[in-house]
Every structure is written in structure tokens, then in C-alpha cells.
Subunit: 154 residues, 2 copies
DNA sequence: TATTGTTATACTCTATAACTATA
DNA sequence: TATAGTTATAGAGTATAACAATA
């Protein structure tokens, strides 16, 4: 026994620490759920975006913060798994539109439900007042960082 | 013009949404700073852990949530860049201890300072009361998730 | 010429399985 | 036998550069 690395008495002393650790906690929880379905977080985000849109590759890439070539690969892997499909763009002979297959939609819905549930469970110990404050503070931070609103997608 | 994907009026309506978006916001900010120094988040976490420890490979792998073979690769890439070094374990002929080089320490310190600053800037718009509440809520969530305390490392 | 998308290539990060060397 | 670590291999995810086809 007697681990070299102490058990992280990790009580975050500063707001910055707290925020960073919280972010890793949420990120990790989401990734774990994704892994349960043999998906990565980026694949989940892709499916999440497509729930109510059928964008082109460049649009998708921009939204996910990826290069267009990375987008080609990401979409290709999702397509190979039968989760999305490429459709020719009706307005532009060069373009393709990416859309969910029924299997992709069903998987997306299951995953987002599980993620909502997991994060909700995480916040279960908070009082109503604390939850309200948390949401308000988060909104304030999101606005401060991205005055337009630009963050995730899922 | 007229983008296919709307500009995300992304006002998170639920606490869950807010928390998830906040987590992506912080994660992204950290990754952007890491990239500035041509580092990944996992490399930064590695350097961060090593600031006050000289653990063995298995210990490190456990702390970062990686397989030992992934740890070999991660350490190897950091070593190739002159950021860490392998030292023979004095107590165990099989073991190696991983430690920061001076260059690695200096880079680790610069990065953590920038990250602290970036996250602090993010929370600059909060009132003192909001900051206190945020920290308290984060602590509560971290405890709820990991009764021992186990999260990040950086 | 500019835009949309793919391909070729290279690198990081990750895991599984097989292996070496020490305990 | 068990433990510490590496190697071989495979795959996801990412970017840059070069390319094709359409606008």
C-alpha cells in the first residue's frame, strides 16, 4: 500500500480550482456515458447537433471547431457505423448534407437522456436555491466568454 | 451568408445544460492555452502532477486514468521534448521514477499561471458573493461525485 | 477564381496483448 | 508467480497540404 501519490485531499481552495475540477468532473461523467455506447464525446456532440439539423460538412466542422478534413473523417466513421448518412445537397452540386439515420437518432436520444440524468444526479444534492444560483452564474460566465453564444452543440 | 446552423442562442434553460456548457467552456479555454505552448491537456496534467512529486509509471497511470502502456507513450513523448526524465527507482530494480526537468518545470509553471489567469478572467464578472457560492456549490458536487476526492490532478 | 469536400500523410492519444526483467 | 515497465499493433481523432469538382 502507501501510495506514492496522496489521495488528493483535493479540496479546491480557490474559485478557479473549483471551476476547473468541476469542469473535469462533468466532462469525465459525459465521456464515461459515451464510452458505454462505444462512442466518443465528439461523436456524441455530432449526433446531438444533427438531432434538429441537416448541415453541410463545412458548417458542421465550424460548429465543432474542426478542420474540414477532420470533419470528413469524423463523419466517415459515424457513417460506417450506420449512425449518419451523406445526402447530396439540392442547392449545390459540390455539397453534401449530413443527417441522422434512424439508428443514429435513437442512439442520440438514449445518450442525451442518460447524460441529462447523470448530470441531474450530480446536482441532486443541491438545494433549489443553489441550483438556481449555479444556473445563473453559469449563464453569466457563458455570456462573458462568448458574447454571441458559441459554446458546445450537444 | 445565411448559415445553416443558427448562431446558438444557446441560453441554457436547465441547470444541467448550464453545467455542461460551462464544463465545455472551461475545458476549451484550458486546451487553447495548452495548444499555445504546443501541449495537450493530458501533457499539461502530467506536468502539473509532477510539480511536487516523482512517482513511478503505474502510480502516474492510475492518477491520470490511463493504461500503463499509454503512460509509457505519454512519458516518452514528454521525455523526447525534454520536459520530463526517467530516473531509476532506488528501491525497485524494475521501476522508474518520472520527474520534471528544469525546462519542464518552467513550462509547467508558466502554463498553470496562464490557466489560472484565464479562468480567473472568466469569473471576473461575478460578484464576490457569486464567486463564493460557485466555489461552495462546486465543492458540494465534487464531494457528491467522489466521496474520497479523486478528480483531476492539474 | 473561390468554395466544398476528399485524400494522403503524419502525429498524438489510447487500449489490448505479448514480452522482459526484477521481486 | 506477481509486479513494473516496454513493445507491437491497431484504431480514433486531429491538422496541413494537395487535389477534384462545382460555382
Amino acid at each position: 500500500m502507501a501510495p506514492t501519490i496522496p489521495q488528493d485531499a483535493d479540496e479546491p481552495q480557490t474559485t478557479v480550482d473549483a471551476l476547473v475540477q468541476l469542469s473535469f468532473l462533468v466532462h469525465g461523467a459525459l465521456a464515461r456515458i459515451a464510452a458505454t455506447h462505444d462512442l466518443s464525446l465528439i461523436q456524441i456532440r455530432l449526433l446531438g447537433i444533427l438531432r434538429d439539423r441537416t448541415p453541410g460538412m463545412l458548417d458542421l466542422a465550424r460548429h465543432l471547431g474542426l478542420d474540414k478534413s477532420s470533419m470528413t473523417g469524423l463523419a466517415g466513421r459515424a457513417e460506417k457505423r450506420g449512425l449518419v448518412e451523406r445526402r447530396p445537397s439540392p442547392h449545390d452540386g459540390r455539397g453534401v448534407l449530413i443527417g441522422l439515420t434512424p439508428a443514429g437518432r435513437s442512439l442520440a436520444e438514449r445518450c442525451t437522456a442518460e447524460m441529462d440524468q447523470a448530470v441531474a444526479a450530480l446536482t441532486a444534492s443541491l438545494t433549489t436555491a443553489e441550483r438556481d444560483t449555479l444556473r445563473a452564474v453559469a449563464v453569466k460566465l457563458l455570456h462573458a466568454a462568448a458574447p454571441g453564444g458559441e459554446t458546445s452543440g450537444t
